[in-house]
Symmetry: C2
Subunit: 412 residues, 2 copies
């Protein structure tokens, strides 16, 4: 393991990884920790070109950059190794000549969050826990439940009761104990923290656990490798609590440190108009709670626990943030589907909606190489898919009725 | 391309592949064609061990066994390369020491049918079609729509109006023209055949198009390679119109012909009790229409168009068939989820339900190596997932309420 220490992003105090801290002793929950690596050691002992011969296509192929000791702890669900598609017709539609889509919806439980949860489960096993827990609007939860089930760990999941049926059904099928809270995400989170602390469960809350960003960063490592160790100009993705954005930054940061890529791409963070506290904090310097008015439930986080890493990621990458309306999101869902055959959930396609806006405003140039990270599978939220689509034509089983319908559809 | 000819399974008449026949000129729709290969040529020019060095993990890595000419026609969605998991706790639960699960729900549109649709789209492009069409209870349709959208082909899909919302939303997002027919699958199919013939679209109906089995067989080629070119003792999967079962047989048959594996595994075909015409035809020798009374909509095919290939596959492999109740299916869904972290749709887990029954009856021995092909993602049919699961506990955001709930769940 190449981890050297954990460093508090508030006060800078350093902790040995074996101490088991999740947050800083001095700063408490404001003192998020950052995982630091011995980059010189990684650069000396690992060769990016040697990776081509590694048969393991999962996130664990990047073990040199991960906070886990070798061993069978990685033998769970096959997370990562997701497709990267060049999307020419989509590019034409949004005004880009070199647009790519990373389909994270094909992770085992259907979202990018599998990367963080697989890492959490590996660490929980290493430390001898038998129960893992989190509060989540959906994907963090389903990914934790699925990855835990695969390794025989018990999971306890706190969800706000507004979470879509699909995501909750998934949790239940994975055998999780689900606590559905009639309240905001905020209240749900508070309840989970109390229970986790009292009972000594492994804490997978992204706003607390410093290792989750390390799992999420593997999407960036994978992107870099898929592009032949070249950083794209822009990486666009949706932002809820900001941890995924922070993870993408960290992945490219690691690669720059060891000299495997020469720069960090500009990050375009996309929030929903109806819930954009990090977008506003970036503009004003002040974080204020926001309403949670968007159909993109996976990024409806009105009071992000710790947006600092995300804001730093945008600033340090010379990136930017934009907001998009729910209509923009539904438009992006249709556009992505019909041009690429990829069905994304609202938060999954919000990155595309934002990129489209950024191209229209001139922020992103038409010739720049841009990647959209499509973070979650559209099957997770059928209600939104149905809302985005024009309902099907319904006819009796009769050739004449058919004739009329096909004519109307331009297929006469 | 190693295809030599197409042979009618009724009368034996042979056709040159360039003639473009989908069925036999003499026998009509009863005359399904079988695609034949020059196995000697394949054996001479290809080496199974050389495949290990092939970077392409999709179904196209087996191009030597596929009816497509080389070229960019394969550059669509990344189909195949799905995970094969050893499932130890699941094995214990059903009484098997060596049980494996192939998760086909991780194909791009969420089911094994992507393999057939990707092949259909490649062939349609080769032949210059711009519209593809089919009638389907769901997965054939969504996979066709998704794979067509990715390659810029237009798709027209005929679905019975009972198809679950998730599957229809998927079609619409992919930009398909969807014709929702208020009738049985049978009536829907008839309507699609009329329209396809009149308009000269590419026909992706599995009961007609001989190439679809060739796409489906890649799951068997992949299984064989994942097992190190060893055939398992049993392969269990659900059966609707029988084409997938026929495909699995064909894949192992091909491999035996070229000497890459030494035998064909015994195939366990599983139908729902409420819709088991092929099961009955195997037992009685007579195919009779059956009702379509099962929640496993993907295998609710009351009048399979051509069960001959499937029945031959079971007989020739010394296999067997069983039926399972909807309760068995929901049980299997829960069991698979909580022991492996895989969420399958009802038809997807029916194979497991049937295998469990076959182990209990002594048909499958506890020490035999068995594989379940999990054919479709559970997110496609949330209603069934919700029905299978115990509803979540719903509480106010209050620690005392939580206390009670955790106590009741054995987490006090």
């Amino acid at each position: 393991m190449n981890v050297t220490e954990l460093r508090c992003i508030k006060c800078g105090r350093r902790y040995h990884p074996d101490r088991g801290n999740l947050v800083c002793d001095d700063c408490g929950r404001q003192g998020l920790l950052e995982v630091e690596y011995d980059y010189r050691n990684i650069a000396r002992n690992h060769d990016r070109d040697a990776l081509a011969a590694v048969g393991d296509r999962t996130m664990w192929r990047y073990a040199a950059f991960l906070p886990v000791t070798p061993g069978d702890r990685r033998s769970g669900l096959l997370v990562g190794g997701t497709p990267l598609y060049r999307a020419q017709r989509l590019g034409q539609a949004v005004g880009l000549t070199d647009l790519w889509v990373k389909d994270e919806g094909l992770n085992p439980t259907g979202s990018l969050k599998d990367r963080a949860s697989a890492l959490a489960v590996a660490r929980a096993l290493e430390s001898g826990y038998n129960t893992v827990a989190c509060a989540s609007t959906g994907n963090a939860a389903s990914s934790l439940a699925g990855n835990a089930a695969n390794r025989g760990l018990r999971s306890v999941i706190f969800v706000p009761s507004r979470a879509p049926a699909g995501k909750v059904a998934q949790l239940l099928i994975y055998g999780a104990t689900v606590i559905s809270v009639d309240g905001t995400y905020e209240q749900t989170f508070a309840l989970s923290e109390t229970a986790i602390e009292e009972r000594g469960w492994y804490n997978r809350n992204a706003a607390i656990n410093p290792y989750l960003v390390e799992g999420k960063k593997t999407v960036a490592l994978e992107l870099a490798e898929q592009f032949g160790w070249k950083a794209p100009d822009w990486v666009a993705l949706s932002v809820g609590d900001g941890c995924t954005l922070a993870g993408v930054y960290k992945g490219f940061y690691d690669l720059v440190q060891v000299g495997w890529v020469d720069r960090i791409p500009r990050l375009l963070g996309v929030q929903a108009e109806g819930c954009a506290p990090i977008y506003r904090a970036l503009a004003t310097g002040r974080l204020e709670p926001a309403p949670e008015n968007t159909l993109a439930d996976s990024i409806a986080v009105g009071k992000p626990r710790n947006p600092d890493k995300a804001i730093q990621a945008v600033k340090n990458s010379q990136g930017s943030m934009v907001t998009v309306s729910d209509e923009d999101i539904l438009d992006a869902m249709r556009l992505l589907g019909r041009t690429t055959g990829i069905f994304g959930e609202p938060a999954g396609v919000a990155g595309l909606a934002g990129l489209r806006k950024a191209v229209a405003s001139g922020l992103v140039g038409s010739g720049e190489l841009a990647v959209v990270i499509m973070t979650g599978n559209g099957l997770k939220d059928i209600a939104s898919g149905t809302r985005a689509a024009t309902p099907p034509v319904r006819i009796p089983p009769d050739p004449e009725a058919l004739e009329g319908v096909l004519g109307a559809a331009g297929l006469g």
